[in-house]
C-alpha cells in the first residue's frame, strides 16, 4: 500500500517503523532534513524534505497515487490542512493526528465535509488505556475487544501465589472461572500454551475473559481486588484531562498536581469536580503532603519520561496501591520492569497500533475484516479481532477440526452479546467477532490463520 507519513516526530517515527516492517511503500515527509535522513537510514522508506501543506512537496511525495496519508506533525491545524490538500490531490484515505478536544468533537463534520477519513488522538487513547487498567488494578494491562465485552488482561504470576506451579488445564477446575490463558511470556521466550503448560513465578500471562469472569478469577486466584476510589495524577497534560474526565464519570475522586499556575486555573475550569493542586510534582514534601502514600492509584503524566519514573518509584515506595507511568522512550520499558514499575503507557505506541489496525483493515476490503489490533510483549505477539465473513473457511467447522497454523490461538468468540471462551467443540458462525492471539505477524484476514 502506498502510504505517506507527514511529520517524523515520536509518533511519526513509530508509525513508520511499524508500517515499514509490514512491507508497505512508505514516503516520509518532514521539514527537517536530519529527521528525513534518520528515517531513511533506519527503514526501507523514501524521504522527501518539505512541508505537508505545500502541494509541490505532497506531489513529490506521490500524494496523487497514495492510498493513505497520515499527518502526525505537532500542530493540529497543519495536520488537518495537510489531509485536506492531499485528499484533493488524489490520496484515497487520510488520517490526521489531532489533540485539541474541541477539534476532535468536529469529527463528523470533518469526515463528511472535508473528506478526512479519521482523526487519531494519542492523548485520548492513552487516557482510555490508563482508565481501563484502573478499573482492574491488579492487572498490569487491560485491552478490550468488541466494545469492552471481552477483556485481555496481563497478569504477573507471583512467587508462591496460587497460580505458581499450576498447569493450565487445572485453572478452570480450581477457580471455576471461564477464562483462557492465551499467551505466556517467560524471560525472553513467548509461549502460546496448551493445557499441559505449567506456570512459573514471574511469568507474565495474558488472559481473555469477560469482565465479570475476570473479576471472579482474580478474586479466586488471590489477586488483590477492590476498586480504585481515588487517584492522584502528577502532571496536568492533555492526557491528565481526558483521564480525569473518564475517572470522575466512574465515581473516582481525582487530584491533579500541576506546576504551571495558569494551566491549573484552566484545569479547574474544565474539571470542576477534580482537586487541582498547584505545585512541583517532583517535590517529595508536596507528594507526601498530598497523601501519595494513601492514594489508591498514582498516575505520572509529566512531559519527561525520567521524571515520571522517579515519581512512580517514590509513590510505590510510599505505598500507593497502583502506579502507572507514562513513558515514550520504548528503550526505558525493560528498565522499568526491573525496578517493579509494571504498568506503563506509551501514547505513541498506542497510536501506532491504531493506525496499523486501520491500514490492515483497508488492505482487506472483502473478507473477514480486522476490527481491533493490539501488540503484546513488545510487539512479539498480536491480538486481533476479526468479524467472520459469510464466505470464511473458518465458519461452521468445530474448532478442533480446523487446521490452524502453529502459534495461533482462537481466544474468544463474541456472538451478539454473548462471550464464548472457546473449546474444541465450539464453532464460528458468520458475523461472530473472533479474537485471535498469535505470534505470527501481518494477518489481515481471518482465513489466514488456517494452514
Amino acid at each position: 500500500m502506498n502510504i505517506i507519513i507527514v511529520g517524523g516526530g515520536k509518533v511519526g517515527a513509530e508509525i513508520t517503523a511499524a508500517l515499514a516492517k509490514e512491507g508497505h511503500d512508505i514516503v516520509v515527509l518532514d521539514t527537517d532534513p536530519d529527521v528525513v535522513k534518520k528515517l531513511t537510514d533506519d527503514y526501507d522508506v523514501m524521504g522527501v524534505c518539505g512541508s505537508g501543506v505545500i502541494c509541490a512537496n505532497l506531489i513529490e511525495a506521490g500524494a496523487e497515487n497514495a492510498r493513505l496519508i497520515i499527518s502526525t506533525t505537532s500542530q493540529d491545524e497543519i495536520n488537518l490542512l495537510c489531509c485536506i490538500i492531499a485528499k484533493k490531490l488524489g490520496a484515497r484515505h487520510s488520517i490526521a493526528r489531532v489533540r485539541n478536544p474541541e477539534l476532535v468533537d468536529q469529527l463528523p463534520f470533518m469526515q463528511s465535509e472535508l473528506g478526512i477519513s479519521t482523526l487519531v488522538n494519542p492523548d485520548f487513547y492513552a487516557a482510555s488505556e490508563i482508565a481501563q487498567v484502573l478499573q482492574i488494578p491488579s492487572a498490569i494491562k487491560i485491552d478490550t475487544f468488541a466494545k469492552g465485552r471481552l477483556l485481555l488482561a496481563e497478569l504477573k504470576v507471583d512467587a508462591g501465589g496460587k497460580l505458581d506451579g499450576m498447569a493450565l488445564h487445572m485453572l478452570r477446575r480450581t477457580f471455576g472461572a471461564k477464562i483462557l490463558v492465551c499467551a505466556v511470556s517467560r524471560k525472553d521466550e513467548i509461549y502460546i500454551p496448551g493445557g499441559n503448560f505449567v506456570l512459573e513465578q514471574d511469568d507474565h500471562i495474558y488472559i481473555t475473559a469477560s469482565h465479570p469472569e475476570l473479576l471472579a478469577f482474580l478474586n479466586a486466584a488471590g489477586y488483590a481486588s477492590g476498586r480504585i476510589r481515588n487517584a492522584m495524577i502528577v502532571g496536568g497534560s492533555r492526557i491528565a484531562f481526558y483521564l480525569a474526565q473518564q475517572l470522575i464519570e466512574t465515581g473516582v475522586s481525582v487530584k491533579i498536581i500541576e506546576i504551571d499556575h495558569d494551566r491549573c486555573v484552566e484545569l479547574s475550569r474544565i474539571l470542576p469536580r477534580a482537586t487541582i493542586v498547584c505545585g512541583d510534582g517532583t517535590s517529595e514534601g508536596l507528594l507526601v503532603e498530598e497523601g501519595v502514600g494513601h492514594t489508591d492509584a498514582c498516575v505520572t503524566l509529566t512531559g519527561t519520561d525520567e521524571e515520571n519514573i522517579i515519581i512512580s518509584m517514590f509513590a510505590k515506595s510510599c505505598g500507593a496501591r497502583k502506579v502507572i507511568t507514562k513513558v515514550n522512550k520504548t528503550s526505558l520499558q525493560s528498565m522499568m520492569t526491573s525496578v517493579g514499575l509494571d504498568t506503563s503507557v506509551s501514547p505513541k505506541t498506542i497510536t501506532a497500533n491504531i493506525i496499523l489496525q486501520y491500514v490492515r483493515a483497508k488492505m482487506n476490503s472483502k473478507g473477514s475484516n480486522i476490527q481491533t489490533l493490539y501488540k503484546l510483549v513488545g510487539d512479539r505477539v498480536e491480538a486481533l479481532e476479526f468479524v467472520a465473513g459469510e464466505q470464511s473457511k473458518t465458519v461452521g467447522v468445530p474448532l478442533r477440526d480446523l487446521k490452524i497454523k502453529q502459534g495461533v490461538l482462537i481466544s474468544g468468540i463474541i456472538r451478539k452479546n454473548k462471550v464464548i471462551i472457546p473449546s474444541g467443540a465450539d464453532l464460528i458462525e458468520p458475523h461472530d467477532r473472533v479474537i485471535v492471539v498469535t505470534t505470527n505477524r501481518y494477518f489481515t484476514d481471518l482465513d489466514e490463520i488456517l494452514e
Binding site: N2, D25, I26, T40, D44, M46, G47
Partner: protein, 479 residues
C-alpha cells in the same frame, strides 16, 4: 562492527557475481574458444566462497554506515581479485597483477588497459572484460539487491556507499524496487544503443561489447585502435550520444517515465553538464580545425572525445595526444568534471563542481560584505551545510590521494606528464591519459608497484574514496 551479518551479505553478493560469470561461459561455448572451463572453475570457487558465511549464525541483523563501507569495499576487492582469475588461469594475461589491474579497470569502469594486442584475446575473455564494465557501471551491489530477496531496512547504508555523488536519494520507497527500476532503465538504454549499432552494420558481438563499454562509461576497446577502428561517423555519433546519455542522472529518466518533462529539463546539473559539453566541443573543434580540414570532421572528433572524457568513458577515435595543447588542457580539465550524480560516470561529478563554484562565489561575496547571509541554492533548493562541507572534504581527500599516488607512481621513473595523467585517469575512472598512457599507448609498461597503486586509485575513484580509506583505518575494524 557486525562482521557476521556483513559477511552474510558479502557472501550472497558473491553468489550473484558467480552466476554472472556464466554469461562468458555461454559466449565461450558459442565461439568454442576453449575458455569455458576457466570461467566455470572460477564461478565455482566464487560460489563456494559465497556459501562459506552461511556457516556463521547471525543473531544481530543491524548494520550501520560502518558496515556499509566495509561490505562495499570488501566486495569490490573480492570480485576484482576473483574476476581476474580467468585471465590469469587461461594464460591470456600471464601476470596476475596485470590481470588484477585489468579487472579492477573493468569493474570500476575505468577502461585503462595493459593489453598491447587486444585483438588476440579470445571472444569469451573479451566478453568478460567488457561485461565487467556493464556490471560495475550501475553497481554490483545495486544489481545484487535488485534480485536478492533479503532486502531489509538499513540497506541504504550499503547503497549509499556504492552510489556516486554527494547525496543519495531513492526513486521509490522500497530499495529492491528502486534497484530494479535503475537496472530496468539501464538495460533499456543499452538495448537501444545495441540495436542502433547493429542497424548501422556493426557485427553483433562488437556492438554488444561496445555497448557494455558505453553503458558503464568504461571504455575498454575491443580493437587496438578503440572505436577509431570502425572509422564510421554514424558509429561515432551513436556511441558519442549514448556516452552523454549514460552520463546523465538516472533519476531524470525516471522523471521522464513519470511524465514530468519540465522537471527533468529544468535540472540545473543537467544544464551545466550539457553546457560544458557544448562549450568544450565547439572550442576544441575550432582548435583542431587545421588538422581535420572540414568543420564536420573536427566537430565529429571533438564531440566524441569530449563526450568520452567528460563521462569518463575513455573511448578514442583519434590520438588526442597529437592535438594542440589547448585541446589537451580542456580534456584534462574535463577528466575532473566527470558525469552527473546518479549516472554511471566517474570523476568529481558536475554537481560537486557546481556546489564548489557556488560556494566560492558566496565566500567572495562574504569577504566583500561580511554581514551578508546567503546559502548555496541548486534547483531552487538550498543545499544543506553538511553537504557543502562534505564536498569540500571530499575534494581535499581527493587531492591528497592524487598527490600521494603521483609520488608513488613516480618512484618507477617515467616522465611527469605520463605519471600525473595516469593517476588522474585512474582516479577519475577515465582510462587513457596523455604521454605513454595516452590513447595510442597503454599501461602495460608501468611497474608492478605503479599498477597496484593505480588499481587502488581506480577502486577509490569508483567508490568515492571514503569506503576504501575507511577500511584502512584500524578503528573501523573494532567490534
Amino acid at each position: 562492527m557486525n562482521f557476521r551479518y556483513s559477511l552474510h551479505i558479502i557472501g550472497s553478493i558473491m553468489r550473484v557475481v558467480a552466476a554472472l560469470m556464466l554469461f562468458p561461459v555461454l559466449v565461450s561455448v558459442i565461439y568454442s574458444d576453449g575458455c569455458a572451463v576457466w570461467f566455470l572453475a572460477v564461478a565455482a570457487i566464487m560460489f563456494a566462497a559465497g556459501m562459506l558465511p552461511l556457516l556463521l549464525r547471525v543473531a544481530d541483523k543491524n548494520i550501520f554506515a560502518r558496515e556499509g563501507f566495509f561490505i562495499v569495499a570488501v566486495t569490490w576487492f573480492l570480485i576484482s581479485m576473483l574476476g581476474a582469475l580467468p585471465f590469469y588461469l587461461s594464460g591470456q594475461i600471464p601476470s596476475y597483477i596485470d590481470a588484477f589491474f585489468e579487472t579492477v579497470s573493468g569493474f570500476t569502469t575505468t577502461g585503462a588497459s595493459i593489453l598491447t594486442d587486444v585483438e588476440s584475446m579470445s571472444p569469451s575473455m573479451l566478453f568478460w572484460r567488457s561485461f565487467t564494465h556493464w556490471v560495475g557501471g550501475m553497481g554490483v551491489l545495486v544489481f545484487a539487491f535488485a534480485i536478492l530477496s533479503q532486502n531489509g531496512a538499513r540497506v541504504s547504508h550499503i547503497l549509499r556507499a556504492e552510489s556516486p555523488g554527494p547525496t543519495y536519494g531513492k526513486l521509490v520507497s522500497k530499495t529492491k524496487i528502486n534497484s530494479q527500476i535503475l537496472y530496468g532503465m539501464y538495460i533499456l538504454l543499452s538495448v537501444v544503443e545495441f540495436a542502433l549499432l547493429v542497424c548501422g552494420g556493426m557485427p553483433a558481438f562488437d556492438a554488444m561489447l561496445n555497448t557494455f563499454g558505453t553503458a558503464g562509461t568504461g571504455g575498454f576497446g575491443i580493437k587496438n585502435t578503440s572505436i577509431g577502428y570502425y572509422n564510421n561517423a554514424y558509429f561515432d555519433y551513436v556511441i558519442g550520444i549514448f556516452m552523454v546519455l549514460f552520463g546523465i542522472n538516472f533519476n531524470l529518466y525516471f522523471l521522464l517515465i513519470r511524465r514530468k518533462f519540465s522537471d527533468a529539463v529544468r535540472n540545473e546539473e543537467l544544464r551545466w553538464y550539457l553546457g560544458i559539453i557544448a562549450f568544450s566541443t565547439v572550442t576544441i573543434a575550432a582548435n583542431i580545425l587545421p588538422i581535420y580540414k572540414t568543420i564536420g570532421e573536427s566537430i565529429r572528433y571533438a564531440f566524441f572525445q569530449v563526450a568520452s572524457i567528460i563521462t569518463t568513458t575513455g573511448y578514442a577515435t583519434a590520438d588526442f595526444g597529437q592535438w594542440p595543447v589547448y585541446s589537451q588542457a580542456v580534456l584534462v580539465a574535463l577528466m575532473f568534471v566527470g558525469g552527473c550524480v546518479g549516472s554511471t560516470g566517474g570523476g568529481l561529478k558536475v554537481m560537486r563542481i557546481l556546489i564548489m563554484i557556488k560556494t566560492a562565489i558566496k565566500e567572495i561575496r562574504y569577504s566583500l560584505n561580511p554581514r551578508t547571509v546567503s546559502s548555496v541554492v541548486i534547483d531552487k533548493k538550498p543545499i544543506d551545510r553538511s553537504v557543502v562541507t562534505g564536498v569540500s572534504s571530499y575534494l581535499v581527500t581527493f587531492s591528497l590521494l592524487l598527490a600521494v599516488s603521483v609520488l608513488l607512481v613516480s618512484i618507477s621513473g617515467r616522465d611527469f606528464m605520463t605519471n600525473v595523467t595516469a593517476v588522474i585517469a585512474c582516479l577519475n575512472n577515465i582510462g587513457p591519459g596523455l604521454g605513454e598512457v595516452g590513447p595510442a599507448g597503454n599501461f602495460s609498461s608501468l611497474s608492478a608497484l605503479s599498477k597496484v597503486v593505480l588499481s587502488f586509485d581506480m577502486l577509490a575513484g569508483r567508490l568515492e574514496i571514503f569506503p576504501l580509506l575507511a577500511i584502512l583505518i584500524p578503528s573501523s575494524w573494532r567490534k
